[in-house]
Amino acid sequence: MTIVEERVADVTILRLKGRLELDTGDMVLRDHVNGLVAEGRVLLLLDMHDVTRMDSAGIGMLAGKFLSVTRRGGTMRLLHLTNRTGRLMHVTRLETVFEIFHDEDEALRSFQTRP
């Protein structure tokens, strides 16, 4: 999996591409988010549009990093879930934990009103 990073004011957008799975994508996500947290960048928006596959390890890493950034006063929100990733967020009940958006502008505005 690859991650392309964009910064919009205090918000960091991470565009994920490829497989968010055990031993591949989950480690890439962990290392990238850990790097951002170390810099103090804890307002994160993950664009999931190009995540082709996700397994329980990938979901676990999403949840784990969500906890990391919220403990540091930040948050992690999700954008553009596909049918596949959306269904997995539903069955794991994580859709009740993450704020999920379909529109990028709306997602970015949400950080201004509820940072």
Partner: protein
């Protein structure tokens, strides 16, 4: 004369009688840093494999002069066999099963996106030497595939790829659910049951009935106590889907624990044996 090894990539022989496909794949693979040799003829492919010391052979099955399956068997019988990725428009399960029996590394059904080949080769390189491990085929009938495989995560990808090709006729949502559930259970068996020890094996049976799919996975571990899975999401109360993370952090386990909860929701039945080192998943076909 052996093909010189590239600095970063692999030595690849591309065998296909479709000149256009040879050109596209050869260009793409060369750009990816591999040293690529090509041929469109079966006997010539065998001769090149024997003298070329290739790491990977991309092999079309419908070749003039010699069957691709014969070339596969020939290549895999060499003392240092190359990984063979089969590419074919033949979508019969008997062809796939014969390729599995003859130790094909992967099976690509034509047409496929050329980048898929590059990704598979990158995966093989990243997981070497596990990519070279063999799968023992116990039964290769379309309605009963049974294999024994070493406990390597790389095997989960390979076996899932073969099994899902067999279920290609199923509606996409069913195929997707079963593939996800199967992968979760297989990964669990390899990681937790087999402790990623490639000297240990998992046994996998895939049974296709008229009205159901049944997958059975047996791992070499001691099993587990489901009531003791406080680090798994299935133990969480309603309304607190992350409660198990506290337990995982205390035990020093990586973030996760959603596998069983996911699998249960994706199939119709999930049945464990008494010690829980053997599991069956069932999906009914209406």
């Amino acid at each position: 004369m052996p093909v010189p090894a590239p600095l970063t990539g692999r030595r690849i022989l591309l065998v296909d009688d479709d000149r256009g496909l040879r050109h596209v794949l050869s260009t793409l693979l060369t750009e990816a840093g591999h040293a690529v040799d090509t041929t469109g003829d079966g006997p010539d492919a065998v001769a090149r494999i024997e003298r070329g010391h290739f790491d990977i052979v991309l092999l079309d099955l419908g070749l003039p002069g010699m069957s691709g399956l014969e070339i596969l068997a020939h290549a895999r019988a060499l003392p240092s066999p190359p990984l063979v990725i089969v590419m074919t428009a033949d979508d019969t399960s008997s062809t796939l099963l014969e390729a599995v029996r003859r130790q094909a590394y992967r099976y690509l059904r034509k047409p496929f996106a050329p980048n898929e080949v590059v990704a598979i080769i990158a995966g093989a390189m990243a997981t070497a030497p596990h990519a070279a491990l063999s799968i023992e085929v116990v039964s290769a009938k379309p309605e009963w595939l049974e294999v024994i495989a070493p406990c390597s995560l790389e095997m989960a990808d390979r076996i899932q790829s073969f099994v899902m090709h067999l279920e290609a006729d199923l509606p996409e949502p069913i195929r997707e659910s079963v593939a996800q559930a199967f992968r979760e259970l297989l990964t669990n068996a390899i990681e937790w049951g087999g402790k990623l020890d490639t000297t240990k094996t998992v046994r996998i049976s895939c049974v296709r009935g008229q009205r159901m799919l049944l997958y059975r996975i047996s791992d070499p571990g001691k099993g587990f106590d489901i009531d003791g899975l406080k680090h798994a999401a299935i133990s969480n109360p309603d309304g607190d889907p992350l409660k198990h993370f506290a337990e995982r952090e205390e035990q020093g386990i990586r973030p996760g624990g959603f596998g069983l909860a996911m699998t249960r929701s994706l199939v119709d039945e999930l049945i464990y044996n008494e010690s829980r080192n053997e599991v069956m998943l069932i999906k009914y076909l209406s």
